[in-house]
């Protein structure tokens, strides 16, 4: 007799294991999650704007945006706290922030095409 487990035996073992591990609640939650994921995936793939954003995410420009944004966040984390309009103007003058805003503007323009 072959020592290999037959496909049927494997299926039986899988079902037995799944039966021990799964409750109706677990299966229901899994079903719920799959449903939500499918709907999100469908929305993303059918939404032209999100598709454009995904295409852009592969471009070098997008990497620059993320880089610039990262730098801007980093420089503001270490900057002394300043509040009010004066503080905001100072932040806006930072070259990292300006670069990021420019690139964010171009993403926005792309999405609204």
């Amino acid at each position: 007799m072959s020592s290999e487990i037959s496909v049927q035996q494997q299926v039986d073992r899988f079902m037995q294991g799944a039966g021990d591990a799964l409750t109706d609640d677990t299966v229901a939650r899994l079903g719920f999650m799959i449903n939500e994921l499918l709907i999100i995936a469908d929305r993303i793939t059918r939404n032209k704007n999100i598709m454009k954003l995904l295409e852009m995410s592969e471009s070098k420009d997008f990497a620059k945006v993320l880089d610039a944004l990262g730098n801007a966040v980093e420089s503001q984390k270490n900057a002394p706290k300043s509040s009010g309009i004066g503080g905001m103007l100072k932040v806006m003058g930072d070259p990292n922030v300006q670069n990021s805003l420019r690139l964010l503007g171009s993403i926005n323009k792309e999405l609204n095409k």
Partner: protein
């Protein structure tokens, strides 16, 4: 080309989404338009009611906003149709609007009609509306044992529900530890325990194994407290009566005299209303002698979606509905089986398995993706 879909339930929603995807170019250019008129802004997953009745699902899980299930290109309005003027290709809605169409699709569904049998509504538990399913659950919770009778009217939607509720009742009573105090008696209107012979051949031995007694050729005539009397002059005494009530089509179909009992005469393959080339009917609203089930509405919607899109794009339909239906059958004890059939092939249900029960349990939560036309 203006396509008007009347009814935002299973059939109408799947059809409208299917068409919106197929005709996305035409909708974007404005050469076609899809409008949906429905009676409510909520979409109910009706098969969940069976589970609510035995405490296996909560009512909050049954609903989603109808708008959230539709492709954004579909113009959706909650404004039920009151008058169909098919000679002039228009409908009039409750708010008084007159809407013209080139193609009309009717999917207004069906409704339980317990009132058609004297004493049934007053004396039986039902699970075909949210209120009835909740009331049934409350009544079950107070039940401590005795004679339970399941009685079914014709026609009814969901062909498997008389069997499923019977198996679920066994589970429920076992879980409560009162199964040994219950006599469960199943009745059915024709000469076997299910309308589909192979399903009846599978179910009867399952009943025998569980000690469920049954009586066939039992058509409810009247119900009095504690007793259901049949047209065939027999009767069954009960402490608890559970019914799958007889069904009718919607009032609007009857009022407009579109078909006897509210069911519209429909071509079994083309799915157009008899005598009307630009009016299509799907789901429970047809008078077709096939199951009134969500899966019927789903398969019909897919065939119609392809055909109506082809009509718009090339002036000719491309396929016919083959009568396909797929119904899960919850068999109790954490197991299920299924029946799949079409106009030419009868079902062949196999022994129930846990895997199929999990599939159905998961599908109950995945229905929304199905309504959107994703699965």
């Amino acid at each position: 080309m203006h396509i008007l879909v009347v009814g935002g339930g299973m059939g109408g929603t799947i059809l409208a989404n299917n068409l919106a995807r197929r005709l996305s170019g035409e909708l974007e250019q404005g050469s076609s338009k899809i409008t949906m008129l429905s009676a409510t802004d909520k979409h109910m997953y009706q098969p969940g009611l069976l589970y609510v009745a035995v405490g296996k699902m909560s009512t909050t899980e049954l609903y989603r906003d109808q708008k959230s299930l539709l492709e954004p290109s579909i113009d959706f309005h909650v404004d039920p149709v009151e008058k169909f003027d098919m000679d002039n290709n228009s409908v009039t809605t409750k708010s008084g609007k007159k809407i013209s169409y080139d193609i009309l699709c009717i999917a207004t569904g069906s409704r339980g009609n317990a009132a058609g049998i004297p004493g049934l509504a007053e004396n039986a538990c039902q699970f075909y509306t949210e209120a009835d399913a909740l009331a049934m659950y409350k009544k079950l919770q107070k039940f401590e044992g005795g004679k339970v009778v399941v009685a079914t009217g014709v026609p009814h939607k969901c062909p498997m529900s008389p069997l499923e509720i019977t198996f679920f009742l066994v589970d429920y009573f076992k879980k409560r530890g009162i199964w040994d105090k219950v006599d469960l008696h199943y009745t059915y209107p024709i000469g076997r325990v299910h309308s589909l012979e192979p399903v009846a051949n599978w179910a009867a031995p399952e009943f025998d194994k569980l000690g469920i007694t049954y009586e066939t050729l039992f058509n409810m005539k009247e119900v009095v407290p504690g007793k259901v009397i049949s047209e065939e002059d027999s009767s069954a005494e009960f402490d608890l009566l559970v019914t799958v009530p007889p069904h009718k089509g919607q009032q609007v179909i009857e009022d407009n005299e579109l078909g006897a009992g509210g069911f519209i005469p429909t071509d079994k393959k083309k799915l157009n209303m008899e005598g009307r080339e630009n009016v299509f009917v799907l789901g429970d609203t047809t008078n077709l002698p096939i199951s009134k089930a969500g899966s019927t509405a789903h398969f019909e919607a897919e065939a119609l979606g392809e055909n109506i899109a082809a009509l718009v794009q090339q002036g000719e339909p491309v396929r016919e509905y083959d009568g396909k239906v797929f119904c899960f059958i919850e068999a109790g004890d954490g197991k299920a089986t299924y029946a799949m059939f079409d106009y030419n092939n009868p079902p062949n249900p196999q022994a129930p398995t846990s895997g199929l029960h999990w599939f159905k349990t998961a599908y109950n939560r995945m229905y929304w993706a199905s309504a959107r036309g994703i699965i």
